[in-house]
């Protein structure tokens, strides 16, 4: 409850945590890479290069970026649902491998057999990429159980959306997580719409940060469009979990600019609402404005960063377009654990 008060204060901007120059620039680059990558993925979907499902993260970039900056990258586990490209990029998975997986090519991170929702990297401690709504909450809680069992001082960061927050297994997980004080941080990415259903229409209570109350799990609501606030809250939550005090809930108030998936025209919300977020709250523009204002970099230098990022994305797209599809014999591999 006390945590709630802190979050409210932060919103008044009186106590806004500041970023160093290095942090601002790092956040800018990470978020811009996600944005440009996702725009490219959207374009490639339109060209018929990406089949099946494709859920873009555009608008929500500050969430995964701020949380990951506050975590021990490569040690703390992360797991999420199907809107997962941004998580993979920030965790250091190769952009070309991600893009080639989207196009179903042999050089994709799952050999071209998983697609948008199914990529994993043990090396980076990224556990997917899960297509079943809410399933990652149980899995992420299990990862935290493993962390505690091994005593390796790592935390499991488990992302899910406002839609998944109404799934039954979420509360079974909350119960066990608190019962055993597992080191897990639940990050609820509340982008206001569960597919096409607004939070108000789908949820009996809409303050998701308080959903752990009956399990005695603390939670706070965070402005998920400001990477500094995300980072600050995530540091607190991760420290809590790492110290053995058990789970912690962060509700990130965020927004996706595109439809739920590629074929969603998103008519369930007004154009004004989207425009307002884009123009006034955009996570990347916020950082960019501060970088210029604080003279951390010039417009020219930012342009160089942008050019560099575009080159990475173009290279990924070229690779994903020209790499061959997996050989037919691959149909029989990766089904059971072989020798």
């Amino acid at each position: 409850m006390a945590r709630k008060a802190v979050a409210t204060n932060a919103k008044t901007q009186s106590n806004t945590p500041q970023f160093t120059k290095e942090q601002e620039l790092a956040a800018y680059q990470e978020m811009l890479l996600i944005r440009r990558f996702e725009e490219k993925a959207g374009q490639m979907y339109g060209m018929g290069l990406i089949g099946g499902f494709c859920h873009l993260y555009i608008g929500q970039e500050a969430v995964v970026t701020g949380v990951t900056m506050a975590s021990k990258k490569g040690e703390d586990a992360q797991i999420t649902g199907y809107r997962d490209h941004g998580h993979m990029l920030v965790m250091g998975l190769e952009p070309r491998g991600v893009m080639a997986e989207l196009t179903g090519r042999a050089g994709g991170l799952s050999g071209g057999k998983g697609g948008s929702m199914h990529m994993f990297s043990l090396e980076h401690k990224f556990y997917g990429g899960n297509g079943i709504v809410g399933a990652q909450v149980s899995l992420g809680t299990g990862l935290a159980f493993a962390n505690k069992y091994r005593g390796d001082d790592t935390v499991s960061i488990t992302y899910f959306g406002d839609g998944a927050a109404n799934q039954g297994q979420v509360y079974e997980s909350f119960n066990m997580a608190k019962l055993w004080n597992l080191p897990v941080v639940y990050v609820i990415e509340n982008n206001k719409y569960a597919m096409g259903t607004s939070v108000e229409r789908s949820s009996a209570t809409t303050d998701f940060s308080q959903r752990g109350q009956s399990f005695d799990i603390p939670g706070e609501q965070v402005d998920g469009m400001d990477v500094r606030l995300v980072h600050d809250a995530a540091e607190r939550a991760i420290a809590h979990a790492r110290a053995g005090k058990g789970p912690y809930i962060l509700e990130m108030l965020t927004y996706r600019y595109r439809g739920h998936s590629m074929s969603d025209p998103a008519k369930y919300r007004t154009k004004d609402e989207v425009t307002k977020y884009r123009q006034e709250r955009d996570p990347i523009e916020q950082v960019k404005a501060r970088i210029i204002e604080e003279k951390h970099a010039t417009e020219e230098e930012l342009k160089e960063i942008e050019t560099k990022i575009r080159a990475i994305v173009t290279e990924a797209a070229d690779f994903a377009t020209n790499d061959p599809e997996p050989d037919a014999s691959e149909l029989w591999t990766d089904i059971t654990i072989g020798a």
Partner: protein
């Protein structure tokens, strides 16, 4: 030079109506700007710009029905590009008969993959889009319980 292509807005879409242009020739655009509205058999969707540049030419006029997926609908010139590039853009080779495959494309990949000697990335994309559409026949995004 980024050609804006008629996008497939669902896995089963083969053609659509260009119902409205939201930019005109000479406008500058940034990533995320809405360029046009496309009407499919299911819904009206927006096409966003991926690049920043100047709208050089609108190739398909507003209200045109049955525009095939992957047809160039506009040309956006990014910084440093000139209108001369346009000529190349307007003549899009037919996929199957394109004989003059680029040297660097003709032998791309291994011999194990003989089916991919399409002339350019764009043509490749179109061929692929056709074959993948056949594969996915009947499936539609957003309808599965998975999501």
């Amino acid at each position: 030079m980024p050609n804006i292509l008629m996008p497939a807005l669902s896995p089963t879409m083969e053609e659509g109506k260009l119902s409205k242009w939201l930019v005109k020739e000479g406008d500058s655009v940034s990533p995320g700007d809405v360029l046009a509205e496309i009407e499919t058999d299911k819904a009206t969707m927006e096409v966003e710009s991926v690049d920043s540049g100047i709208v050089n030419k609108l190739l398909v006029s507003e209200g045109t029905d049955n525009v095939k997926v992957n047809t160039p609908i506009a040309i956006v010139l990014v910084e440093g590009e000139k209108a001369e590039d346009l000529k190349v853009a307007e003549t899009v080779p037919e996929p199957a008969e394109a004989p003059a495959a680029n040297a660097d494309n003709a032998h791309n990949g291994d011999d194990a993959e003989p089916a991919r000697d399409c002339g350019s990335a764009k043509v490749c994309a179109r061929q692929r889009s056709r074959s993948s559409r056949r594969r996915r026949d009947g499936r539609d995004d957003g309808s599965a319980g998975l999501e």
